[in-house]
């Protein structure tokens, strides 16, 4: 039992250290700063003006609703390109071979990296909210302030693990970049970032429910402007995160095995 605990502690520490290292890399990457900070500001401005034209800008809650949605759009873009491209990126950098052949489990290394991607993506949220406050005078308040950090953490975990799943799946396909572009906009819509889920066709419901950003968005909006504590959304983030992780781990075993067979771990 103590052996299992020690292993769990060691694995958690490994994920945390990889997260810390990857965050450091992102902080000096122009591409990620552009994706996570500049792009959401543009989205936010467009959203505010659209609401204004629609004559709905008077409602403070509506402004915050839009700000959180556009912030989450940036989070998703970062997760999609950062997490989805993680393995392909490592292969291009020449580090994939080293990470795979290291004694530590590669699935945990990849998890640390994609969790960092999702965390970094949350700069989008901060940038969008700051933009809303500075330019549009949007008031910042939360109905459940103590639940907001919990909701954020749950959303980061959910999106981070989703990034891992995307990364392991995309690496199977040569044209994964095209697939990334294809997935960006539909997820914005299907997960309620742009418009409320209630406005979407009923048949889209099940698709939304299995997409973790839906619950991330619901948890954060619930804590900020909801009328009830968003416990269900927080729980769903974590449940889906576990499910995604188990699938990603299985796919990863297959991917690494295939790469060892096909000699595709490096480009050299």
């Amino acid at each position: 039992m103590s052996g299992l605990l020690a292993a769990a502690r060691s694995n958690a520490r490994h994920v945390a250290r990889v997260w810390q290292f990857t965050m450091k890399i992102f902080m000096i990457s122009d591409f990620f700063i552009l994706t996570a900070v500049v792009q959401p500001i543009i989205f936010a401005s467009i959203a505010y003006f659209l609401f204004e034209i629609g004559g709905d800008a008077a409602g403070e809650q509506t402004l915050l609703y839009a700000a959180l949605g556009t912030g989450m759009m940036g989070v998703w873009s970062t997760t999609l390109f950062g997490g989805g491209g993680a393995i392909a990126w490592q292969r291009w950098e020449g580090t994939l071979e080293l990470l795979v052949s290291a004694p530590r489990r590669y699935d945990l290394t990849l998890l640390g990296q994609t969790l960092a991607t999702a965390t970094f993506g949350f700069w989008s949220m901060i940038a969008t909210l700051a933009w809303g406050v500075l330019l549009f005078g949007m008031p910042l308040n939360a109905n459940y302030p103590l639940l907001l950090p919990v909701a954020l953490l749950a959303a980061i975990i959910g999106l981070g693990v989703m990034g891992m799943l995307l990364g392991t799946t995309f690496v199977l396909y040569r044209h994964a970049n095209a697939l990334s572009n294809l997935l960006e906009y539909p997820v914005w819509i299907a997960t309620g970032m742009v418009v409320p889920l209630a406005l979407l066709p009923v048949w889209l419901g099940p698709v939304s429910w299995v997409l973790v950003p839906t619950w991330g968005m619901a948890a954060i909006r619930g804590a900020a402007i909801g009328t009830e504590p968003p416990w269900l959304a927080i729980a769903m983030n974590l449940v889906l995160a576990v499910a995604y992780y188990l699938i990603a781990r299985r796919v990863l075993v297959h991917v690494i095995d295939k790469a060892r067979r096909d000699a595709t771990l490096s480009l050299a």
């Binding site: 520490r13 490994h14 250290r17 990889v18 290292f21 450091k24 890399i25 000096i28 990457s29 950098e93 020449g94 580090t95 071979e97 080293l98 990470l99 795979v100 052949s101 290291a102 004694p103 530590r104 290394t109 060892r260 067979r261 096909d262 000699a263 771990l265 490096s266 050299a268």
Partner: protein, 348 residues
Amino acid sequence: MSTTRPGPATDGPAIEAENLVRTYRTHLGVMRRRSLDVEAVRGVSFEVRPGELFGLLGPNGAGKTTTIKMLITLLLPTSGTARVMGYDVVRDTAQVRRRIGYVFGGERGLYDRISGLDNLRFFAELYGVEPDAQGPRIAALLDLVGLTGREGEKVEGYSRGMRQRLHIARGLLHDPPILFLDEPSLGLDPVGARELRRTIADLVAAGKTVLLTTHYMFEADALCDRIAVINGGRIVASGTGSDLKAAVANRTIVEIETYGVTDEAVDRLRADPDVIAVNTEDQDQSQVLLVQSERGTEITQRLIQHLGDTRIGKIAAREPTLEDAYVHLIATTGDADGSAARAAAVAE
């Protein structure tokens, strides 16, 4: 049901390869796609003893890197087996990975925009170095590879030699008993390469087993206890440097510096009954002809006559080196059945 796995070999070979074969499949064409099976390694067998520095020597494309990648668990062999300290490289990947370090030549494999120290901290974590041990271990390795004082600088500002030494430090973080060095001196200047060779010699003196691949003969000669020459995916000779040199021991090498030598002139040299082999090395302005003949045969005057109007610089006769033995081996064992036989096309 549990399976019994061989434990770490304490008195057996550190590395064993038995009839390793690796075939790659590649594709040709767009409209009429065909696949091509290329045999990169064709039945390689060798053993490396604990504490030994073993060299795998061969030209580009000979199968050195493919062999090493099978041994370090990054590639699955098409057939054959290999063990590292008694652990099978296909089944026991975790045990093998804990016991090996892997360093390759070239620019890639490091995080350029952060410092050398941060790179080492990250890889120490990946290699499972205990948190308390990481600081002292990194400091000791920086000292070993001569990067103390430069560790805080971003890697993008490092010279090739510094990057290569950082790679070696990375490969040693978890203190592996076995180190695989795949062309580590690739692209280094002479001073950097010499420093690297000194570091490798120090590692062997400290008890590490090293498998080194290189295509620099003098490097293999200076460092390796034993050498296997690989060509066309097969080991064509193995032994100590002296063993390999013995193949050409009864020869004399005449080096002739020429300017603008023609193929016809070289053919005339080759046609001389006392000439065993002629190799040409192109230099900036000149070509150096290395003419092998039986020891004791005086043929210099005849060689000059064969060269006719060719402008000749220095001429010197010398004892054969490992490089001559290597050139002889590669020339005489060259892919006898041709590279076409290594690549069998299959129409899809």
